[in-house]
């Protein structure tokens, strides 16, 4: 599977920024003493333990812009917890998916109208490619790309201790169906064929996004938990509704200094099957077109490193890298299994 050129650019840029942040970090302690009192009072007291999952609350009238690149590699099929071969899939279907890659570029903007409330907007751009094999042994690839669904979120600090050692927050959001659900590509079955559910870029429905999160902090450690749900409403123009989704994370961070931390995170996801069906898709052709074979559950372990520039020319810049590997997955299959995920993000607070 080849990584796209844009992806390489993201990694190289991130590493360059990391090196620069590392280089300036050693001088920053003396800089603190040389800054004016007004500048000192504007420095965030904690910078590294609060950025996981964009779960943090901003100061009144503070803005943040961010960009995150994510890449997910999927290879081979699974039914329940058991891996199944292409031959097994082809006993029941004409076509078997063999691998899939998903590349996502996510832009985000945050603004805090008050000290306890932060608004966030996120817009993804996705590129999906799926490789298949037919019973006749013919291999082919289908692709789709474009913007995904726009997400609007509000994050409210419901309870916080005096020095923010413990923060409980409530989230509420809405997913607006800006992503396409009628993507098409050429296949051996014909030109301009409707692509299956997993290759469509949006849900096609307005979805509610409720959530809660907790973050704790001590001198050297940060930890937290978050639950985020996706509740779909109605049916889209193609006569189906994606399954509801529940996403939960537990993490612990080691704060090495005010400019670097590393984290380990366990992320569990559960998602349901599709309700209804797209009449243009032949459910007997491939498992990806069967709405009853779309649900599943997965537990990933993710390791990350986050870097932050508290002062200097890059003040307020934040970069993070994360790699994830599934430790458990059970799928209503045959369905493509996830092999690994990687992401790199940049944020700028001002």
């Amino acid at each position: 599977m080849r990584e796209p050129r844009a992806g390489k650019f993201v990694w190289i840029s991130s590493i360059f920024l990391s090196v620069t942040i590392s280089a300036i970090a050693s001088d920053e302690e003396e800089n603190f003493l040389d800054q004016s009192l007004k500048q000192i009072l504007a420095i965030p007291l904690d910078v590294n333990a609060v950025n996981i999952l964009e779960s943090h609350i901003h100061k009144k009238e503070e803005w943040m812009v961010g960009y995150r690149f994510m890449y997910m590699g999927m290879n081979g099929n699974r039914e329940g917890e058991r891996q199944v071969s292409n031959a097994e899939v082809l006993e029941d279907y004409m076509v078997a998916p063999t691998s899939m890659s998903m590349e996502m570029h996510m832009g985000s903007v945050m603004y805090a109208p008050s000290d306890d409330l932060t608004f966030m907007a996120m817009m993804p751009y996705q590129k999906v490619a799926m490789e298949h094999v037919t019973r006749m042994g013919e291999k082919f690839t289908t692709k789709s790309q474009g913007i995904g669904d726009l997400k609007l979120m509000a994050n409210f600090a419901a309870y916080r201790t005096r020095w923010d050692e413990h923060i409980f927050s409530i989230k509420a959001g809405l997913s607006i169906p800006t992503g396409a659900i009628d993507e098409r590509d050429d296949t051996p079955m014909g030109r301009d064929q409707k692509l299956p559910y997993s290759m469509q870029l949006g849900s096609g429905t307005y979805d509610f996004l409720p959530g809660i999160s907790y973050a704790g902090l001590t001198t050297d450690w940060g930890w937290g938990a978050q639950m985020l749900g996706t509740i779909r409403t109605g049916k889209n123009d193609e006569h189906y509704r994606l399954g509801d989704k529940l996403d939960g994370s537990l993490w612990i961070s080691r704060i090495w200094d005010n400019w670097v931390s590393s984290s380990i995170r366990m992320n569990g996801q559960w998602w349901g099957d599709i309700h209804g069906a797209d009449p243009e898709l032949n459910q007997n052709l491939a498992p990806t077109a069967n709405p009853e074979l779309r649900g599943g559950a997965r537990l990933d372990m993710l390791l990350s490193v986050e870097l932050y520039a508290p002062t200097g020319d890059l003040k307020g810049q934040h970069v993070g890298f994360e790699i994830g590997l599934p430790v458990y997955q059970s799928l209503d299959g045959p369905q493509l299994e996830t092999d690994w995920t990687i992401s790199a993000g940049w944020q700028w607070t001002f």
């Binding site: 504007a42 904690d46 990687i342």
Partner: protein
């Protein structure tokens, strides 16, 4: 392993390796942002306060007392305050409050602050703490966190009693001032 052949993962591993290297080099300096910000603010506090008693002028050193050791205050020892070199002292049984020019009560688990405030009233000592109710108990500067940023309040009355003149630079940025 197939995963190592993926170019993206190789680049990521390089980044993690780089970060691991930098982590090892700084592991001995484990202090967090909050401590550094507070230390820098306290440096400004002692810079913008005048000790008006005569005995202060005859001192060669400025004694900054801490309830417990905090390495973020070490850079103070390379600086001067009103032509005096700054010396860090640990506030224990050996150190008398009378020898302190400023005290930062940085042990949040300790309940000694009321006793320290009472003793410091006889001397010209700038007292600073994060304890809630510190000003009302007679302390001079109380630190607080407002949405991840440091704020401070000043008890002018207590400062005046200790013959300390708090500069306008502090009064103008304080969140709350208890007037004389």
């Amino acid at each position: 392993m197939d995963i190592l052949r993926k170019k993206g993962v190789t680049v990521l591993l390089f980044a993690l390796l780089f970060a691991s290297g930098t982590i090892v080099t700084i592991a001995s300096n484990q202090v967090i942002q909050k401590n550094k910000v507070i230390a820098a603010a306290i440096y400004k506090f002692i810079k913008f306060v005048d000790w008006e008693n005569d005995s202060f002028n005859s001192l060669d050193e400025f004694n900054m007392c801490l309830q417990q050791y905090d390495s973020t205050f070490e850079p103070f020892t390379k600086r001067n305050i009103q032509s005096k070199t700054i010396k860090l002292l640990l506030l224990d049984q050996k150190t008398n409050i009378s020898s302190c020019n400023a005290i930062y009560l940085n042990d949040s688990q300790s309940n000694d602050y009321l006793d320290i405030i009472a003793k410091s009233k006889t001397y010209s000592v700038l007292t600073i703490s994060e304890q809630t109710g510190f000003l009302e108990a007679g302390g001079i500067i109380e630190l607080a966190n407002q949405n991840n940023r440091l704020t401070f309040s000043i008890n002018q009355q207590a400062a005046q009693q200790g013959q300390l003149n708090v500069g306008f630079q502090l009064l103008s940025l304080a969140r709350k001032v208890i007037e004389i």
